[in-house]
Amino acid sequence: MNPGPGSERHLVEPAPAFVPELAPGPGATFGARLVRTLLAPFRLAYLLTLTAAALAALAGGPVLVWRRLAGGVPDPLGDHLHLFLGLLCALIPCLVWGAAWASGGGGRAAGAVLTLPGVLAFAAATFYPGGAPGGSHGVVLLAPLLVLLGLLATRWAASEHRRCVERWFGRPILDPYRPLPDAGPGNRIVRSWAAVVDWLTDVALLRDLAWTLGCGATVAAGLVLLAFAPGLLNHLGPNGEFAKPWVPYGLALMLSPALVLWGAPLVLDLHARAARTVIGPSRERQLAARVQHLSETRAETIDHSAAELRRIERDLHDGAQARLVALGMALNAAEQLFDADPAAARALVTEAKGASAKALGELRALVCGIHPPVLADRGLVDAVQALALDLPLHVQVSGDLEDRPPRAVESAAYFAVSELLANTVKHARARNGWIEIGHTDGMLRIVVGDDGRGDADPARGSGLRGIERRLAAFDGVLAVSSPVGGPTIASLEIPCASPSPKTSSSSATA
């Protein structure tokens, strides 16, 4: 792997395999920009509720304790017994649920429930007059569980933040947590608790906490600013009070839709940057993930090349080698027959000629399968063009590569395109196809599309899985969009930071 900005970026996160929702793409239409602008405030509102829920869940336990201390009514289980029982009933299943979620099970919705008891407790303790639910005994029982649940809820909120950033801006933020210990034998619940304990001792927990508190503080500061700024501005006027208080607030209210539309994308962008720094994986964790990815792809690459060598050996053995043996035998027999039976000898020589032509043909096919000559001669674009010309459908090839990518990348891209086109011919019933090849930001990008019937699924097709696996060895990705009824569009990206200088120029022949 060549060191360079491309590979450095790749250490942090893989390339997106889908179109991000909010990232400003080049050449976006006016409609797309409008939709993005209108979406942003709603996205922001979601982040606000996430922060509020996580904060409330965190505060549930401490608020109960504080309520107990401030209330000072020594009444065992007396204070709001119904609330106490309600909280207890909510807590137990939520804790089991949370443990299962933290150990890798459950989806997004499961996490939302984690915040529930904390929010309930927070609300109960804040808005009910008098002592805490369940009195002293109740608090001793409830508070630690609520704190634990609050921490789990914090983790859930942080995960949601990471997921949102990936969805909105394309580049994912990888999981910052220590990898779970290998699932050994034992009860699922026991393992879940082990995972929770493991997580409680993880540094990433502190980052999640800091993130939630930081978000809360930012929101609070923002609210305070919004609440007091117009009044404050009013007081800074020349005569102490510039206008009646409702004037600046009314103005602010009228301007707020425009402000929100303008400000929301900026805030979301800032949020994404902050999230990347605070709740992203540490350098150590990134390297660990990288090492794991490399060992996996290396194993696959070794398997693949071993299989290729076996195939070549078999092809040579059954093909050209066998033909050459036949050729030698035919010539040998002809040599002995020349005097006795010239006609038979001539027939044998003709046969030998045929065998040599067949051996040549097989060798040619084999060479094309190992490394196509046009690829060696002209590079990727022309090789793909040559490939397209041999297909029984019309394929438009466009694109240009300033410099030739490294040979290995070029070859991998070629065979990926070849496999994709073979799929098109086999399954798509397409009449037209198109291929675009380009090199931007240290990435070789190729799009292969057809107007066939669609419905290609990488999860089902072993061909597409094979392409993905082979591209993975180069940190490349394949994304396939293939709705039923078509069109099918497959795009692949392979990082290639430092292309080798072009060795042959096709300008003389173009």
């Binding site: 000629k353 040549l360 002209r378 297909l391 042959s504």
Partner: protein, 214 residues
């Protein structure tokens, strides 16, 4: 007839020279790379150049590029390109100027001496000699839809041989039919493909190739 040869493998260069000499041709130059070929062509223009695609120093498509350069410098110079493999892409580039006098054959075809010499003569006379494999792939590319799909099997055979650059007489001999029958088939093919009929063999072939390369 005077021939220049560019081929980097000594055995093949020598074999080609002998083969052509045995058929009464004069080999004006037998060189091993594109530069030398161009120099030889400029110094002493032969009737036809036989060039290997892959030549030193890069062993990529130097031979093809030398052939194309030679045709630009010496317009109308007939060139027969030989290769270990055939690509439609290269065939297109050779045919692009539309002037004929072009051949593109697999090296295997040298095995059949008389057929090969026939191809060299055809190219030297301004005709074309396309490898059956190129034509086969061209037909596959066109076979899925369109007029080519509507041809009868016999007409397709005739079309393939015509695209290779064979004359009516040669097609008749190959398919063991009369020349009149071949003429009937070609007329029908031209109607189906909506091409202007032409009495001139070479122009006829170029029209067919241009159509198939569409």
């Amino acid at each position: 007839m005077r021939v220049a040869i560019a081929e980097d493998l000594f055995l093949l260069r020598d074999g080609l020279t002998r083969l052509l000499q045995a058929h009464g041709m004069e080999v004006t130059a037998a060189v091993e790379n594109g530069e030398e070929l161009l120099a030889a062509l400029r110094a002493d223009r032969p009737d036809v150049a036989v060039v290997d695609v892959r030549l030193p120093p890069g062993f990529t498509d130097e031979g093809l590029r030398a052939a194309l350069t030679a045709r630009q410098e010496l317009p109308g110079l007939p060139v027969l390109v030989l290769s270990q493999y055939v690509e439609q892409l290269y065939a297109r580039e050779l045919l692009a100027d539309g002037s004929g006098g072009v051949g593109y054959l697999l090296k295997d075809r040298v095995l059949d001496g008389s057929q090969f010499v026939d191809a060299v003569r055809r190219v030297a006379a301004g005709g074309t000699a396309m490898d059956p494999e190129v034509i086969g792939r061209l037909l596959t590319h066109n076979a899925a839809a369109g007029p080519v799909a509507s041809l009868t099997p016999r007409e397709r055979e005739v079309l393939a041989l015509m695209a290779e650059g064979r004359s009516n007489a040669a097609i008749a001999q190959q398919l063991v039919i009369t020349e009149r029958a071949v003429a009937k088939h070609t007329a029908s093919i031209f109607v189906r493909l909506d091409l202007q009929p032409s009495d001139d063999d070479n122009r006829r072939v170029l029209a067919v190739l241009a159509y198939l390369n569409g």
